[in-house]
Symmetry: C2
Subunit: 293 residues, 2 copies
């Protein structure tokens, strides 16, 4: 396979590594010479170009691995320089708006399919590229409509197999709702938590431990990424924030109304009530607690 990767941040560079490891040819496009030099020194690319051009795009597949705001402008340039029909994918973490706007462009040569590898890091940039970043991870594929060619599907499936990810087809809307729950909402929540910590940092940094820093790790993702996904996935994200606040209020209410048993049941996400000894302990504690009140 001959693959052109546009953009060599963490995702682009890690994809290149995986493809090179499988013996494929990687054509690299990046705006800065220093990025291409770094890619070459890590043996991530076979050919390099500073711009999207005809020469760079004589490939089997184009991967636009750019930040969200640059995907559509890059897609327009890709269309301009492609010789014939070629599958073009992106790796952005919002899909509805990207897929819809790409469709509205009515491209002739670029067969655009929205993609989203569920792998990453709070670090960004080529210097943080990881070997095996995509191994075993879900790779979500959002086709723009039902008229997608079998050849396009096969090509994407082959690509996903070569980077050793798990191929999952999903509609763009469903993608955005699900990713709001497992990625965008946790990011917003981690940020709000870390914000409380910052308000009292001088004291709290003395005592904060691994649990806190694990929970808030994603808060350190690039705030520009966070801003863009939040604005571009606004509907699903606001729905999820509201649903989350309702869940939090329910826990708060159990505490405020002195109902430890209800609280236990809500906190028991792993269903330890299968364990009768545990439940006896809980009930005894609750009995003693109410006696003390």
């Amino acid at each position: 396979m001959r693959v052109c990767i546009v953009g060599f941040g963490l995702i682009g560079a890690s994809l290149a590594w995986q493809l090179k490891a499988k013996g494929h040819v990687v054509v690299g496009v990046a705006r800065r010479e220093s990025t291409l030099e770094a890619a070459k020194s890590h043996k991530l690319i076979d050919e390099s170009y500073l711009e999207i051009c005809q020469l760079a795009l004589s490939v089997d597949l184009v991967v636009i691995a750019l930040p969200l705001e640059l995907i559509l402008p890059a897609l327009v340039l890709v269309e301009k320089f492609l010789k014939g029909p070629t599958v073009v994918i992106d790796v952005g973490s919002v899909k509805s708006k990207i897929v819809e706007e790409a469709k509205a462009l009515k491209l002739k040569k670029a067969l655009f399919v929205g993609c989203h590898p569920m792998a990453g890091s709070d670090k960004s940039g080529i210097e943080h590229f990881q070997t095996g970043l995509f191994v075993g991870k879900p790779f979500l594929v959002c086709y723009p409509d039902l008229n997608v060619r079998v050849k396009t599907i096969t090509q994407i499936q082959t690509f996903v197999k070569e980077i050793e990810s798990r191929y999952i087809e999903i509609s763009a809307d469903e993608h955005d709702r699900e990713v709001a729950t497992i990625s965008h909402l946790p990011y917003i929540v981690a940020n709000a938590l870390f914000g409380l910590y910052l308000k009292d940092k001088e004291k709290l940094k003395q005592i904060a431990s691994t649990g806190f820093f694990d929970t808030t790790r994603v808060a350190h993702s690039d705030p520009m990424w966070g801003m863009m996904v939040s604005m571009m996935n606004d509907t699903a994200l606001i729905d999820r924030i509201d649903e989350f606040i309702v869940a939090l209020q329910a826990l708060r209410c159990d505490i405020l109304t002195n109902d430890p048993l209800a609280l236990f049941e809500r906190l028991n996400v792993d269903n330890v009530d299968q364990d009768p000894r545990k439940m006896q302990l809980v009930k005894k504690w609750v009995r003693d607690y109410h006696t003390k009140l």
Copy 2:
């Protein structure tokens, strides 16, 4: 040093390991024979007792490493069997109620000091004990009043030094407020997040990745622990939940009112606005975004 540890869960057993590694004598008390057998097989104890008794308590320091609800009953038993004045500490993660109730007991021999090592795991039980669990971690110490004897302070400082933790004195009230922010609130938040995931688990488990599981790892702590700390640290925790919801609503409002620049500033917890190139990108995106609206 000759130290009696009452309770051999994750914390008790990991403390025993650390003390033994430094050549101290550890006297172990646990309710179940199998626990003591496990402690012996891991070479965590020198002497073992199934009950708190006079023989077990002829030591320099007693550590009550039991779940929150068992600390005070154990303290009463310890007082009964102590020969003379001895420093007794606990390791529970709520301090005001424990320290107050211990004071109200007006003990003669047990010189009780509330303690809280900021180390742990979502796993519990002796089988999960960790070597070096406390190394470099904060060890919070809440003295019951200002009349504490110098000898007591020295003894606790020595103990903390031997387990290689960082000794930090703090008032019980302040402890509870700070721990609400960095431990109890993140736990409640992780639970609410994991609850949303569970509601749609069949779909979401296909795509959830490390970011999500890191953020929600603490949700898998023992729900009985979660119930007890929430009920015993209710005032500080409810305050923090309310403050957290306000922070979340502010982020939600930025998204709803289409204000990406305000959102960026709020998400920018690591102050990347020191970087002028980044801020240019952000402002350009915001301009383009508003043009598109």
